[in-house]
C-alpha cells in the first residue's frame, strides 16, 4: 500500500503553452480507492502517468513539472514494484508473444528470482480468470482477454499503487464485463491503493470509496464520497461530458421519416483478409449469404460481438471492398447515380453518395489541416473553388473548429476529431448530404457532449432522408436513435424491425 501526496502540482506537456493540470493539492492515503473525474482534457491520464513515474527527466513523457508529487514520501520515479499501470488499449500494452511470458515481463524487470516468477505468473493468470494455457499466443486473444492479461501483468509485479486508465474503454460490452468482473474481484482481494480514471462512472462506482473531480488546466474542484459528489455535482459533471449514472444525455431527436430502400446486400459472403502469407494463416468466412436492405430516412444499427463481422459488413455496404461472393447494389435514388454494384463505383462517385466514418477518426484523415480535410470532399465532387471555400467556412463554424482551421487533424482532441471525421464523410457538406452514411462505432469513447452533438447531427441527416448505418455496441445509441436493429453473428444476420427499448 502506498500513499500519494500532491501539493501545488502542475504539468505542462513539452511543446504546449498551457498547463494540462495546475495547482493540484491532493492527498490519497494508503489503501484508498479513488476515482478521478473531469471533462476530457482535464489531465486525468497525465496525472496517472505522473504517478506511474513516466513523466520527468528519465520518463517516457517529456514536459515541465511544478510543485511536488510524492508516492510513499518520495518523488515518483519508476520505483521498482511500487506502481502498476493499466491503460486503454490492450494491443499497445502487451509486450511478449505468449501470455505467460508477457505476465513474467514485469517480474523479470524487477529482477525477481526466476524460480519465483512462474508461481507468480500462475497466480496472476488465475486471479484474472485467464482461460488458457500460459503458452497461449497473445495475438490469438480477444480484446477482453488481452486486457485481462494486461491486468495480470500489472498484478504480477505486486504493486502497492495500482493505476487504471479507462481499462474498459476500448472493449466491446462482453470484454468490458469480463474486465470489470476481474477488477471487482481484485479490489476485494488486493490491498493496493487504487486510482482509477473512467468516463463511464456507472461501470466503476462500486469499486471506489472516493471521487476526485479535476478541472482542465486547474486543480481539484470537488472531492468526497461518490454519493455526495454525484448528488451535489452530478448535473455539472454531466454537463461537462462525464457519464453520470441517471444523467445520460437525452437529445430531442427528430423523428425518422422512413423511406424506400437505397441499398441492398444480395447474397453477400465475406472472408477475413489473409495473413502475411507466413505459416498459412487461414482465411475465415465471417459472413455467408447475407441479404439485407438499408432504407432512406432510417437509422440501422449493426450489433454483435467483436469479430462477428459487423465492421466487415459495414465496409461492404459502404462499397469500400469487394465481397467474396454476392454484391451490394444501389436501389431507388442511389441507383440513379450508378446502377453497378457499389464496389465497382469510382471512388469519387462513391464519396459523393456514400459517406463512411471509420472507428478511429485518424484513419479518416488524408490531408495536413482541418480546412483541407473539409475541402477535399467538395473538391473531388468537382465544385468550383469559390463554393468550396464558402462551404468549408460554414462547416468550420458549425463544428466550432474555426480557431483550429489550420492545425493538423491529428493534433485535435478526441471529440474534435470525431466531429471532423463525421463532417468529412458528408461529401460536399450537409446541404448535399450523402444518400447513405456508414459509421463504425461512432460514439466509441466519446464524452456526453460529443455524444449528444453526434446524435443531433445524425438525426438531422436522417430527417433529411439519408440512410444511416452504424456498427455499434453503444446501448444508449441503440435505445435513443435506432429504427432497425440488425444482429450480426454466426456468419449471418437477424433483423429486428422497430425501435429497440
Amino acid at each position: 500500500m502506498a500513499d500519494v501526496r500532491l501539493s501545488g502540482w502542475g504539468w505542462r506537456h513539452a511543446g504546449r503553452s498551457e498547463y494540462a493540470l495546475r495547482g493540484v493539492d491532493l492527498r490519497i492515503d494508503a489503501g484508498e480507492r479513488v476515482l478521478l473525474l473531469g471533462a476530457s482534457g482535464a489531465g486525468k491520464s497525465t496525472l496517472l502517468h505522473a504517478l506511474a513515474g513516466l513523466t520527468g527527466p528519465d520518463g517516457a513523457i517529456s514536459g515541465e513539472q511544478e510543485g511536488t508529487l510524492l508516492v510513499e514520501g518520495r518523488p515518483a520515479d519508476r520505483r521498482r514494484g511500487t506502481v502498476g499501470l493499466v491503460s486503454q488499449d490492450p494491443d499497445s500494452q502487451l509486450v511478449m508473444a505468449r501470455a505467460g511470458d508477457d505476465v513474467a515481463f514485469g517480474p523479470e524487470n524487477l529482477g525477481v528470482d526466476p524460480d519465483r516468477i512462474w508461481p507468480r505468473v500462475a497466480r496472476a493468470l488465475n486471479a484474472v480468470g485467464f482461460p488458457y494455457d500460459h503458452r497461449r499466443s497473445t495475438g490469438a486473444l480477444s480484446g477482453g482477454e488481452k486486457q485481462r492479461l494486461v491486468v495480470a501483468g500489472a498484478m504480477a509485479m505486486r504493486p502497492r499503487l495500482l493505476l487504471l486508465d479507462e481499462p474498459t474503454a476500448n472493449l466491446d460490452p462482453e470484454g468490458a464485463a469480463l474486465v470489470r468482473g476481474v477488477l471487482q474481484r481484485l479490489s476485494a482481494e488486493t490491498e493496493a491503493t487504487l486510482v482509477l480514471v473512467e468516463h463511464r462512472v456507472a461501470e466503476v462506482v462500486d469499486l471506489v470509496d472516493r471521487v476526485v473531480v479535476l478541472e482542465p488546466g486547474g486543480g481539484v474542484v470537488a472531492d468526497g464520497p461518490p454519493a455526495r459528489i454525484f448528488d451535489r455535482h452530478g448535473a455539472e459533471l454531466a454537463e461537462r461530458g462525464v457519464w453520470v449514472p441517471g444523467r445520460e444525455p437525452e437529445p430531442s431527436v427528430a423523428p425518422a421519416p422512413g423511406g424506400a430502400p437505397v441499398l441492398a446486400a444480395e447474397g453477400v459472403s465475406a472472408r477475413t483478409p489473409g495473413g502475411l502469407g507466413m505459416r498459412g494463416d487461414g482465411r475465415r468466412t465471417v459472413l455467408e449469404d447475407v441479404h439485407l436492405e438499408a432504407r432512406s430516412g432510417t437509422a440501422t444499427a449493426l450489433v454483435g460481438a467483436n469479430g462477428s463481422g459487423k465492421s466487415t459488413l459495414l465496409t461492404l455496404l459502404a462499397g469500400l471492398d469487394r465481397p467474396h461472393r454476392g454484391a451490394v447494389v444501389p436501389r431507388g435514388p442511389l441507383a440513379e447515380a450508378d446502377r453497378r454494384p457499389l464496389y465497382r463505383w469510382p471512388a469519387r462517385r462513391l464519396a459523393r453518395n456514400v459517406g463512411t466514418v471509420f472507428q478511429h477518426a485518424e484513419d479518416q484523415f488524408v490531408t495536413a489541416s482541418v480546412r483541407e480535410e473539409l475541402a477535399l470532399g467538395p473538391r473531388v465532387s468537382g465544385l468550383p473553388p469559390a463554393r468550396v471555400g464558402a462551404g468549408v467556412d460554414e462547416l468550420l463554424q458549425r463544428l466550432r473548429l474555426e480557431h483550429l482551421a489550420d492545425v493538423h487533424p491529428y493534433t485535435l482532441s478526441g471529440g474534435e476529431k470525431r466531429r471532423l471525421s463525421v463532417a468529412t464523410a458528408l461529401g460536399s457538406g450537409p446541404a448535399n448530404a450523402p444518400c447513405v452514411l456508414a459509421l463504425d462505432e461512432p460514439t466509441f469513447g466519446q464524452d456526453t457532449r460529443t455524444w449528444r452533438e453526434l446524435v443531433d447531427l445524425l438525426a438531422a441527416l436522417r430527417a433529411g432522408g439519408s440512410a444511416v448505418l452504424m456498427a455499434t455496441h453503444d446501448p444508449l445509441l441503440q435505445h435513443r436513435f435506432t429504427d432497425v436493429r440488425v444482429r450480426v453473428g454466426g456468419a449471418g444476420v437477424h433483423v429486428d424491425e422497430g425501435r429497440t427499448t
Binding site: A52, L85, V95, A104, G111, D113
Partner: protein, 260 residues
C-alpha cells in the same frame, strides 16, 4: 504450417512432433552460429562445387525444418532473386566466364539458406532468449525488436484500413501513374505516423512495467544441449567436406587466385 496452435509470432512444436520438426529442437543460437560459420567459411571460395556441396548439405535439412515449401519459397525469394541477378551480372560483365558466374550465384544461396533455415525453424521468443543469453546480445534492443514484432500483424490491419479510407474519401489513381505514386506515399506516410504512435505507446507500457530500471532476471532459460554443440561442430565438418571435394576434383577456385 507449423504444428500446434502457433501463429506468425509463436511456434508450438509438440514434444512428439517427430523428424519433420527436428531442426526446431536445437537452440536458435546454435543454429545461427552454425549458419554464421558456414557463411564465413564460404567467403574465400569462388567455384560452384564448394558452395554447391554446402548448399546440398543444408538443403538436405529442409525436410526437417518443419516449414512448408511455400513459406520457404516466399521467404527465400529475395535470395533466389539475388542469386539469379548475381549469375546474370557475372555472366554479362564478369571475367570468370560461366563457371565463375555460377560459383558466385551458388555461393549467395549457400550463404543465405542456413540463416534462413535457422530463422524459420525457431520461435521468435526462443531466438531472442538465445541471442541474449547465449550470444550475449544486449538485452534492451533484443527486447525492443521482439516487442516490435508483435506490432507487425497490427500494421497489416492498419494498412488495409488506410487503403479503404482513401477510397471512402474519393481518392483514387484513376489510371494516372503519378497520382498512384502520390497516393501510395500518402498511405505509407499515414502508416508511418500510426506505427510511430503505437510504438511510443508500447514503449510507455514497457516503461510502466519497470523495463530498464535495473538488472533483469530471466524467466526463461535458453538451454544448450549436447546436440547444439554437435550442430556447431557439424558446420566446420561440412565446410571441410566441401573444400575437400572441390580440392580433390580440382575445381577449387579461391577468391584471390581467381582474380589473379
Amino acid at each position: 504450417m507449423s504444428a500446434g496452435s502457433g501463429d506468425t509470432l509463436t511456434m508450438d512444436v509438440p514434444e512428439d512432433a517427430g523428424l519433420r520438426h527436428w531442426l526446431s529442437r536445437f537452440n536458435p543460437a546454435a543454429k545461427l552460429l552454425a549458419a554464421l560459420i558456414l557463411a564465413l567459411g564460404l567467403v574465400p571460395s569462388a567455384d560452384p562445387v564448394t558452395g554447391g556441396v554446402v548448399l546440398a548439405g543444408t538443403a538436405a535439412l529442409v525436410p526437417f525444418s518443419g516449414t512448408d515449401r511455400r513459406t520457404l519459397l516466399v521467404l527465400g525469394l529475395p535470395f533466389l532473386l539475388m542469386g539469379g541477378s548475381t549469375l546474370l551480372v557475372n555472366l554479362l560483365y564478369g571475367d570468370q566466364g560461366a563457371e565463375g558466374a555460377l560459383g558466385a550465384a551458388v555461393r549467395v544461396l549457400a550463404i543465405a539458406l542456413p540463416g534462413l533455415l535457422a530463422a524459420v525453424s525457431s520461435d521468435p521468443t526462443d531466438l531472442s532468449d538465445g541471442l541474449v543469453q547465449r550470444l550475449k546480445v544486449p538485452e534492451r534492443p533484443a527486447m525492443g525488436v521482439l516487442a516490435a514484432l508483435r506490432l507487425v500483424p497490427l500494421l497489416a490491419h492498419q494498412w488495409r484500413t488506410i487503403t479503404l479510407a482513401r477510397r471512402a474519401r474519393g481518392l483514387a489513381a484513376r489510371g494516372n501513374p503519378v497520382r498512384a505514386v502520390r497516393l501510395f506515399f500518402g498511405r505509407l506516410f499515414s502508416l508511418l505516423v500510426r506505427s510511430v504512435r503505437t510504438g511510443t505507446l508500447l514503449a510507455t507500457a514497457m516503461d510502466a512495467r519497470a523495463f530498464g530500471t535495473g538488472p533483469r532476471s530471466r524467466a526463461r532459460r535458453s538451454r544448450w544441449g549436447r546436440r547444439d554443440t554437435l550442430l556447431l561442430a557439424a558446420a566446420p565438418v561440412l565446410l571441410l567436406c566441401a573444400y575437400g571435394v572441390s580440392c580433390s576434383t580440382g575445381t577449387l577456385v579461391l577468391l584471390w587466385t581467381g582474380t589473379a
